[in-house]
């Protein structure tokens, strides 16, 4: 009992005390450095190249944002530090101040706003189906998967979506959970599942980096939209404003569009594959009118 009391008191103390009375801006000014969090294997949003250096669409946007921050704060130099994150570590690392921004493929959802803030949307993902060409199914029509198996990330948004659609229309699809995108794709290529449900960016990444990309077909009909944004720490309005302004400027001056072409329509490191994925209408719209809204309806 004593131990439980001690732990609770400690937890309450640690989490109620704001370890950072001063904002991020002061800290960045003081240390002359900003720390970016990035996922290590989310091609093409954030991943490691052949030299083990973090690259990717969102990572480069963050680097451009850092350059803007340097100018607007009038700093002589701003060092960029990188810190790898995983889906389970991004929130704590952001909350405890280890990273200042998370640059990957995090979906902007309303109920996440109690814990973090999001920069204006820089990618709009659509949930699409991937299947083998010889699988006898139509990736744009969920009903052709009747009685078959679809793999999706365990506990992920796509898993929930397919289960829900399946229940609504009574397709009798069995939804197989897998650990991550790479594993859902492995389940399709090994024949364990007829198809997999993934966010389109990751689906293109998985297919393009497979041994025989032409064996697979990716759906064009999105089942659901999911806006991605750079993660910002909660309750630091000045820092959020600084980052948001930088992101909007980068969208307006065409930098984001150029980066999109660099990562989605031309060969990317480490193996020089080309995802060949033209920009979706939803993303074009989001770039024309930058917004940090978590509501998918605003992107349709």
């Amino acid at each position: 009992m004593k131990a439980i009391c001690a732990v609770t008191t400690l937890a309450a103390f640690v989490f109620s005390a704001h370890a950072f009375a001063e904002g991020r801006i002061d800290r960045i000014k003081e240390s002359g450095a900003i720390t970016l969090g990035y996922p290590e294997s989310s091609v093409p949003f954030g991943y490691l190249d052949a030299q083990q250096k973090p690259v990717g669409y969102t990572v480069e946007i963050c680097e451009a944002v850092s350059a803007k921050i340097k100018t607007s704060l009038g700093l002589k130099s701003l060092e960029i530090h990188y810190n790898p994150t995983a889906s389970a570590t991004r929130i704590p690392l952001l909350a405890n101040g280890t990273i200042d921004l998370e640059c990957g493929n995090t979906t902007n959802k309303a109920d996440r706003h109690t814990l973090v803030d999001f920069a204006p949307t820089t990618f709009v993902a659509q949930v699409v189906l991937v299947a083998r060409k010889d699988g006898g199914v139509d990736v744009n029509d969920l009903s052709t998967f009747r009685g078959k198996t679809i793999a999706a990330q365990a506990g992920g948004q796509t898993f929930k979506l397919i289960s829900m659609l399946n229940a609504q229309h009574d397709y009798g699809i069995s939804v197989a959970p897998a650990k991550d995108t790479a594993e859902t794709f492995l389940m399709v290529s090994s024949g364990r599942a007829a198809g997999s449900a993934n966010d389109d960016g990751l689906a293109y990444g998985a297919v393009a980096s497979s041994k025989n990309p032409e064996d697979f077909v990716i759906g064009t009909h999105g089942l659901e939209l999911a806006p991605y944004g750079i993660l910002e720490p909660k309750d630091d309005p000045e820092f959020k404003k600084l980052v948001d302004t930088a992101v909007v400027e980068l969208i307006k001056d065409g930098t984001v569009e150029k980066l999109y072409d660099k990562y989605f329509n031309s060969p990317i490191p480490p193996r020089g594959i080309n995802l060949k994925y033209p920009m979706s209408a939803a993303l074009k719209k989001a770039l024309a009118n930058p917004t940090d809204s978590p509501d998918p309806a605003n992107y349709e």
């Binding site: 704590p92 109920d111 365990a154 506990g155 959970p177 594993e183």
Partner: protein, 255 residues
């Protein structure tokens, strides 16, 4: 740390919109229990067999036991999980492999996970039991043989009843280990306790609450293992061996 700590999150609706997060975590506890109980049971039976092989007189039986133990003990559990789930169906005849792949949810994940943990647990329990068997004085085996028992009877009536009772304390650790190893099943998509905690943080972003709950879950499950094994230890202790003192104390207090 700027974190919105909230224990009420457990009562909120989870990703499926029907059950609360707490309900989902309890379902996860159920799968963890099912997985560890079945794996522990199978491992105890086959672990005994392999332990007997490793201590049997014929050299070729010892060899089989040793090869089994070294293979399954030396490969990381995570790798074994992948082998059972992804590689085994490819090695079987096509019909069998397809049947394995098309198995309904979550049995398609549960059965490979049980197989993996059982084979791994068998290797570990076999070593524990072998230690127990070899700790017995050699005279026990000789006395059994002198009475005209066959080697099988010697094991059945003389050696194993003593060996089991000697190894109860390390056996407790092995069972607790199996409960903890069961979390590796999340890598093949089985939503046991750790898997549900991971899913919960994925949706709600409340990572500390999710994994605190998982921690408490494992503490409680393993606490129960300790209590049960403690009872077993007291009940079956051998005179003059481990656990006997507690038994004397208890019965002394009663009389």
């Amino acid at each position: 740390m700027n974190y919105d700590w909230s224990w009420r999150i457990f009562l909120e609706l989870s990703s499926n919109g029907v059950d609360s997060y707490l309900h989902k975590l309890l379902i996860g506890v159920g799968w963890t229990l099912a997985l560890s109980l079945s794996a522990g049971f199978i491992a105890l039976i086959f672990g005994s067999v392999v332990a007997v092989l490793r201590t049997a007189r014929p050299v070729w039986l010892q060899l089989i036991g040793t090869v089994y133990v070294e293979i399954f003990r030396n490969i990381p559990l995570l790798v074994q999980m992948f082998l059972w789930y992804f590689v085994l169906p490819e090695l079987l005849p096509k019909d069998w492999g397809d049947a394995l792949k098309q198995m309904g949810q979550p049995w398609g994940q549960f059965i490979p996970a049980v197989l993996c943990l059982s084979f791994y647990g068998t290797a570990r329990l076999a070593e524990t039991l072998r230690a127990g068997i070899q700790s017995l004085p050699g005279g026990q085996r000789q006395a059994g043989t002198a009475m005209g028992l066959t080697p099988v009877q010697v094991y059945r009536y003389v050696i194993m009843p003593q060996a089991y009772r000697v190894v109860i304390p390390p056996l407790t650790s092995e069972f607790m280990g199996i409960v903890k190893y069961s979390s590796v099943a999340l890598t093949i998509g089985l939503l046991e306790l750790t898997g549900q905690a991971r899913a919960m943080q994925e949706f709600s972003f409340h990572i500390f609450e999710a994994f605190s709950a998982a921690t408490v879950g494992y503490l409680l499950i393993n606490g129960c293992v300790v209590l049960v094994m403690h009872y077993v230890e007291r009940h079956f202790a051998l005179p003059g061996r481990i656990g006997w003192n507690t038994r004397i104390k208890l019965s002394g207090a009663a009389s």
